[in-house]
């Protein structure tokens, strides 16, 4: 037990909590029973950008001590895992056996529990949906005891995307995706502007299991929204060069270097972001088809640099991610224009098309476009600009992603998540005493 100051991955809004790291699942029930008036929430690997996995003045359960792989069925391709298991470990164990995680975010360093609580999505959302769609059972420690929930239960879907506010995910059973190799077959295209990339995604995404576009938000005018579109699928053994066919499932990605905590705020600014974007765009081939890439290069390029979030310095950064229906693609353009006009740099702007959402009332993905932007904290006009963007997104029937949020105005939550009351009803039954609390739930009035 220790009192620690915690932040999300964005290093903003620090608060202190008593952090407990149980080594046995039974301890979680005891902690829930003893929680003080300021409540309790689970935290995995701390990759939520905002304040979802912190609890000022209360208790935080660090789940990473509960990281066992409990049961594997290699024939059916299912795994039962403890909530604190990282997708990194899961991939290292399962990929060599021919099974890949059904959904991976841009980092392998998230836990199974976090993946469900945020109902994470990946580059394959338009084909495979989000993480919870591949979960068949969750063992959930709640204030009224342990519950085993399956997708036919409202509590299952309140938990998927429920940001940890329905309980602590102790175990989950996940359906994996069969793969022949640990490599990807990737097509890369440079797109001249936003219309170009959006049109190519609309017409071509269906032909790929994985698709994502990196957008340059700083080059305005005629080239506004120029992009590099990468799409691909798992390579088959036959597609590999002969040399690689000998060990097609080998998987051992390394962290090549770690960023020290010495970078000043302001290092990521309009100038450096522009330079980064120029290089990123120019280094991409105009068009290249069938390139064989390592899984980690395709899915987790930033995992090669440990603690890359330190590059943003002491003020930290936020990630602004929203989704809007396909009919409201203009919101993507307006948001990029708004930031480009203000000269606010984003090195990493990612555009993707979502398929239909799952039944979770607070699950983020809805059929439509999603744009994610990394933005350094520092520019005094940024907060108000994003407030305007929120209004725009809400008016378009869209929403921001709670796992990344650290700044949304609470009164917009209901407009963005119209099924909020359904979620609240399930939560009220389960946790009438409001034992499950996080900074996010306090800030947004979810608690």
């Amino acid at each position: 037990m220790a009192t620690r100051v915690l932040t999300g991955w964005g290093h903003t809004a620090p608060t202190s909590a008593t952090v407990m790291r149980p080594r046995h699942a039974d301890e979680i029930n005891a902690l829930l029973a003893q929680a003080n008036g300021r409540g309790i929430v689970a935290r995995g690997l701390g990759r939520s950008y905002g304040d979802a996995a912190q609890n000022a003045g209360g208790t935080v359960i660090d789940t990473t001590g509960l990281d066992a792989i409990l049961d594997v069925d290699l024939t059916a391709g299912t795994v039962r895992a403890a909530g604190g298991l990282s997708l990194d470990t899961l991939m290292r164990v399962m990929i060599p056996r021919g099974w890949f995680v059904p959904v991976t975010p841009g980092t392998r360093y998230v836990t199974v529990g976090g993946a469900i609580a945020a109902d994470i999505h990946g580059k394959n959302h338009h084909v495979d949906g989000s993480f919870a769609s591949h979960v068949t059972e969750v063992v959930l420690a709640t204030p009224c005891g342990t519950r085993v929930v399956r997708p036919d239960d409202d509590l299952f879907w309140a938990t998927a995307g429920g940001m940890g506010l329905t309980g602590v995910i102790v175990e989950a059973t996940i359906r994996l995706t069969p793969v022949e190799t640990s490599l990807m077959r990737v097509d890369t295209e440079r797109c001249a502007d936003l219309d170009d990339v959006m049109q190519r995604m609309e017409t071509g995404d269906a032909g790929y299991r994985y698709s994502v576009a990196w957008i340059d938000c700083l080059t305005g005018g005629r080239h506004l929204g120029r992009a590099v579109l990468t799409r691909g699928d798992h390579a088959t053994v036959a597609e590999l060069p002969t040399k690689r066919q000998r060990a097609p499932l080998a998987f051992d990605p390394r962290v090549r270097l770690a960023a020290p905590a010495i970078f000043p705020s302001g290092l990521v600014n309009q100038l450096t972001a522009r330079a980064f974007n120029e290089v990123w765009y120019r280094k991409a081939p105009r068009r290249r088809a069938g390139e064989i890439q390592a899984l980690s290069t395709f899915f987790h390029p930033l995992d090669g640099v440990g603690e890359w979030n330190r590059l943003y310095g002491a003020r930290g950064f936020i990630q602004y991610q929203f989704a809007v229906p396909f009919t409201e693609g203009e919101v993507v353009r307006r948001t990029i224009t708004r930031l480009s006009d203000a000269g606010i740099g984003s090195c990493l702007a990612v555009l993707k098309r979502f398929g239909p959402g799952d039944p979770g009332p607070l699950s983020f993905p809805i059929a439509g476009w999603t744009l994610a932007l990394d933005l350094p904290v520092g520019r005094p006009d940024l907060a108000a600009l994003l407030d305007q963007a929120d209004e725009d997104v809400a008016a378009a029937g869209g929403r921001v992603y709670l796992a990344k949020d650290a700044r949304l105005r609470p009164d917009l939550l209901r407009a963005m998540y119209p099924r909020l009351d359904e979620w609240r009803a399930v939560r009220d039954d389960l946790d009438p005493g409001r034992v499950l609390v996080s900074d996010l739930s306090r800030r947004l009035g979810l608690a």
Binding site: R38, A384, D387, R407
Partner: protein, 253 residues
């Protein structure tokens, strides 16, 4: 909660009727602040005016009696505010009196009143607030100090020495609360054109309540823990602090 930009949702201003408090409330209401507790002298007209103005901006405003001159009442007063309002994300120490230097020199009792409000009350309320913020595990404290305390001048040394003590107290509190999720920001304005300074001759590098409020909002986002308003006062006072006494004493007031 404070958001990623340090913008608070609930705010307590001790000395809520002051001009700086009103300017700050206006700027915070434009962001995400929805609850403001204004604490001040019972029945104070400026407190009521500040409350009316904040309400017109859509803020949920409460006013509460707070007598800076009665340190014995402070811990209880702070506890009551917390009990009524719940978590407070930002507490601003905006109370203070300038005092009449000449009168103070004649009447040590009057000087003691200035010292009580400007120093002792900052200590008693500061510690009570710090205790609450430690418990809630987060928050920001903004203390309105003054350059008058940076190097105390002949012209207002009763006020200046009390502010020097107050500034030192909050500097210490900044360190005491490091690694608790609570941050303390000491703001040192120069001459601010307010009702407290009404009738005084304007001074070089004078500033306004709006500028002080803007500096506070900016500081809530950043890592600075001591903020000068205007910023140019920082290098100016770096020099002033080291002027020979005979020169310092003769500077025009």
């Amino acid at each position: 909660m404070n958001d990623a930009f340090g913008a608070p949702q609930s705010v307590l201003i001790l000395g809520g009727g002051s001009d700086i408090a009103r300017a700050l409330t206006r700027q915070l209401a434009a962001r995400h602040t929805r609850t403001v507790v204004l604490a001040g002298r019972p029945g104070s007209a400026s407190l009521e005016a500040a409350a009316t103005e904040a309400r017109s901006l859509g803020v949920d405003v409460r006013t509460t009696d707070f007598d800076a001159g009665d340190p014995d009442s402070h811990e209880q007063a702070i506890d009551k505010i917390w009990a009524d309002a719940g978590d407070l994300d930002l507490v601003v120490f905006a109370f203070g009196v300038l005092g009449d230097q000449a009168a103070c020199e004649e009447d040590p009792g009057a000087a003691a009143d200035v010292a009580t409000v400007d120093y002792t009350a900052a200590v008693t309320t500061g510690l009570a607030v710090a205790k609450r913020m430690r418990q809630q595990g987060h928050g920001a404290i903004v203390a309105l100090s003054s350059v008058a305390g940076d190097r105390v001048r002949r012209a207002n040394f009763v006020y200046g020495s009390a502010k020097a003590g107050m500034d030192g107290f909050f500097q210490g509190l900044t360190d005491a609360l490091a690694d608790t999720g609570v941050k303390v920001i000491v703001v040192r304005p120069g001459f601010v054109d307010t009702k407290m300074t009404a009738g005084m001759p304007p001074q070089p590098l004078a500033t306004t309540p709006d500028a002080v409020a803007a500096a506070i909002v900016k500081a809530l986002t950043g890592p600075s823990r001591t903020v000068w308003v205007p910023g140019a006062l920082r290098p100016v006072f770096a020099v002033m602090r080291h002027l020979p006494r005979v020169v310092w004493r003769r500077l025009p007031t």
